[in-house]
């Protein structure tokens, strides 16, 4: 098992305040890692740093053996890193179909794309994704007119179309029903192995279903790390969560 993502002593500071504090993080290829922690622990910032949305103040980020610290977002994305946002981000004035077409980003050169008229390229993958996301009947609907759940699915679909080696999902089940959450965990379980997933989540039941390993962040650092049972019973974790039921109902 090789390490696909490695963060070494990564920090992100705003003036004096460190949102991410000498954070060390290693994820193996094919793993499904859950990144947990209370609000403000540094989870989303970590995702931002990995995807290039923010620049680390110090430290090194390695992806697939190459350094990606401080690279531009699209460069990192092209190396095989995909991201799903907390608040679903789709292209509102494009149809569902076109949203997925854009997500099929095998060739991102503008001039090459000027010559591409064919609706047929990538059709197989698109058909699969549409099936998976359950959007067969909504293909001609504008992205902005979808319901919240549908938008989530579209974005998941888009990330799947992009087919990155590493998927970073920021609260993918936010606003989903029981059924939808169940479906999401099925998809994630299917994806891991071929792909590596890092999922930021709050829904503990969902986390239990999918996680191989959990990293619990607190104040920009790792508080505990390991499989669910280990982290649950870690005394440090119990201390931080002040005699509650451990992290089982941490918000």
């Amino acid at each position: 098992m090789s390490v696909i993502l490695e963060l070494t002593d990564v920090s992100k500071a705003y003036d004096q305040f460190k949102v991410v504090d000498s954070f060390n993080f290693k994820v193996n290829q094919g793993e499904l890692r859950c990144l947990l922690g209370p609000n403000g622990a540094g989870k989303t910032t970590t995702i931002d740093l990995i995807t290039g949305r923010q620049k680390a103040t110090s430290g090194k980020i390695m992806f697939n053996g190459r350094e990606i610290t401080g690279l531009r977002e699209d460069r990192i994305a092209k190396r095989g890193v995909g991201r799903k946002f907390q608040v679903p981000a789709v292209f509102k004035e494009l149809t569902v179909r076109d949203n997925l077409r854009v997500a099929f980003s095998n060739n991102t050169d503008p001039f090459a794309n000027m010559l591409r008229f064919s609706r047929k390229e990538g059709r197989e993958r698109l058909d699969q994704v549409v099936e998976l996301a359950g959007l067969q009947d909504r293909l001609d609907e504008l992205g902005g007119n979808l319901s919240h759940g549908e938008t989530q699915w579209l974005e998941i679909g888009m990330v799947l179309t992009q087919s990155p080696k590493l998927l970073l999902m920021d609260e993918p089940t936010a606003g989903m029903t029981e059924q939808e959450t169940q479906k999401t965990s099925e998809i994630f379980n299917r994806l891991k192995g071929q792909h590596t997933l890092i999922v930021v989540e709050h829904d503990m039941a969902f986390v239990r279903e999918i996680a191989d390993v959990i990293t619990l962040m607190h104040m920009g650092k790792t508080l505990a790390e390991g499989p669910m049972e280990v982290v649950e019973n870690d005394p440090k974790v119990k201390e931080v969560y002040l005699g509650s039921e451990g992290i089982t109902d941490a918000a």
Partner: protein, 368 residues
């Protein structure tokens, strides 16, 4: 839920465009008045300018108040070309305004314009080059929205000053008036003839259909995606600044074509071509006609300018008050302009999508 709308059917759209241009092409055969043809040819130029704004703003989400820069630069290039067509290398090598300004020899920058093909190439090439540089400057820094608008406006102001000031080179506020009509491949393009009309219409038609085709490529889809959410596009692996610069340069290219044709028609170029009010007016035409629709923008330009010209001098001020109010209303309530109203109207026509298969060639996104 969006009902399928004939307005968005690609085949219907292409048919509409072709009918439109065919109808326009026939007009000279009916009118047969050289003066009117010159007038109509001018409307064609306004259409081209509106096309440039619709592409950049409606589809790219980039509002540029400075399309006049490309238009003006190209106009000057064409003016120089046409002027040098008139000059004689042996007996009369320098335009009269240069002699009036006591220049001793033809400036180096004017030399290439001795050759018509170089002249036209530069007239179009230099504005495009400028737009590329300017675009890189702005989009690399991730400037957007109102900032870009103000920057383009300031740049336009700078160039206006330049044209006004560099009298020995540009004839200043007097402008350059090439005495003869443009001659291309041995053919004289008489500004008062059916030919000039067809040239103008031809350029408009060619550019419009090319851009329409371009918008149906993946490039077109990506550029609209970038308009909707540049960050999302970045995370999918697209170099947003690159796409925006390419689009910006394309819009500049279109406006440059307009400038070249304009001087063929008017046989005159002055700093007015770089006027701020004019450049912003293009945006007004596109907004009122409908910036999300190439057809709408072109139609808006032609309609507004035709109304302006035909209403007579007494009504000018009143007309502009009305236009101003209409523009405010459009901005406030009708982001899709008149084309948007048209879209709603067409929506009432019963129409079903060809098929529901995923690979439907006719499937589209909003706008044309």
């Amino acid at each position: 839920m969006q009902r399928a709308n004939l307005y968005h059917d690609k085949r219907a759209q292409w048919a509409a465009y072709l009918v439109f241009f065919a109808a326009l092409a026939v007009i000279p055969l009916i009118m047969d008045d050289p003066y009117t043809m010159n007038q109509y040819a001018r409307y064609g130029v306004f259409g081209i300018l509106a096309l440039s704004v619709s592409l950049l703003w409606g589809y790219g989400g980039i509002l540029s108040l400075g399309q006049g820069i490309a238009f003006g630069m190209a106009a000057y290039g064409m003016g120089a070309t046409m002027q040098m067509q008139y000059q004689d290398p042996v007996n009369d090598p320098m335009p009269s305004f240069m002699l009036t300004n006591e220049l001793e020899a033809l400036p180096v920058v004017w030399e290439p314009f001795w050759h018509t093909h170089w002249g036209v190439l530069l007239a179009i090439g230099i504005p495009v080059l400028f737009f590329i540089i300017f675009g890189v400057l702005m989009f690399q820094a991730r400037l957007a929205g109102a900032f870009v608008a103000i920057m383009t406006l300031a740049m336009l102001g700078a160039w206006y000053s330049m044209a006004y000031d560099m009298q020995p080179y540009t004839a200043g506020f007097n402008g350059i008036s090439p005495p003869n009509a443009f001659v291309a491949f041995g053919v004289e393009v008489d500004p008062y003839s059916n030919l000039i009309y067809w040239v103008s219409l031809g350029v408009l038609g060619f550019l419009t259909l090319s851009i329409k085709a371009l918008l149906q490529t993946k490039f077109g889809t990506v550029i609209q995606a970038i308009r909707d959410d540049p960050e999302r596009a970045r995370f999918l692996g697209y170099n947003v600044a690159y796409y925006q610069t390419v689009l910006f340069a394309l819009a500049g290219l279109v406006a440059a074509f307009a400038g070249v044709v304009w001087v063929m028609i008017s046989q005159y170029v002055s700093p007015t071509e770089l006027d701020i009010f004019f450049s912003i007016s293009i945006v007004i035409w596109a907004a009122v006609g409908g910036r999300m629709s190439l057809f709408g923008a072109i139609f808006g330009a032609m309609f507004i300018k035709a109304a302006e010209t035909n209403l007579g001098d007494d009504f000018q001020a009143t007309w502009f008050v009305i236009l101003g109010v209409v523009f405010i209303v459009v901005v406030r309530f009708l982001p899709k302009g008149i084309a948007g109203l048209f879209e709603i109207a067409i929506g009432f026509i019963p129409y079903r999508l060809k098929s529901s298969s995923r690979s439907d060639v006719n499937s589209t996104s909003a706008g044309d």
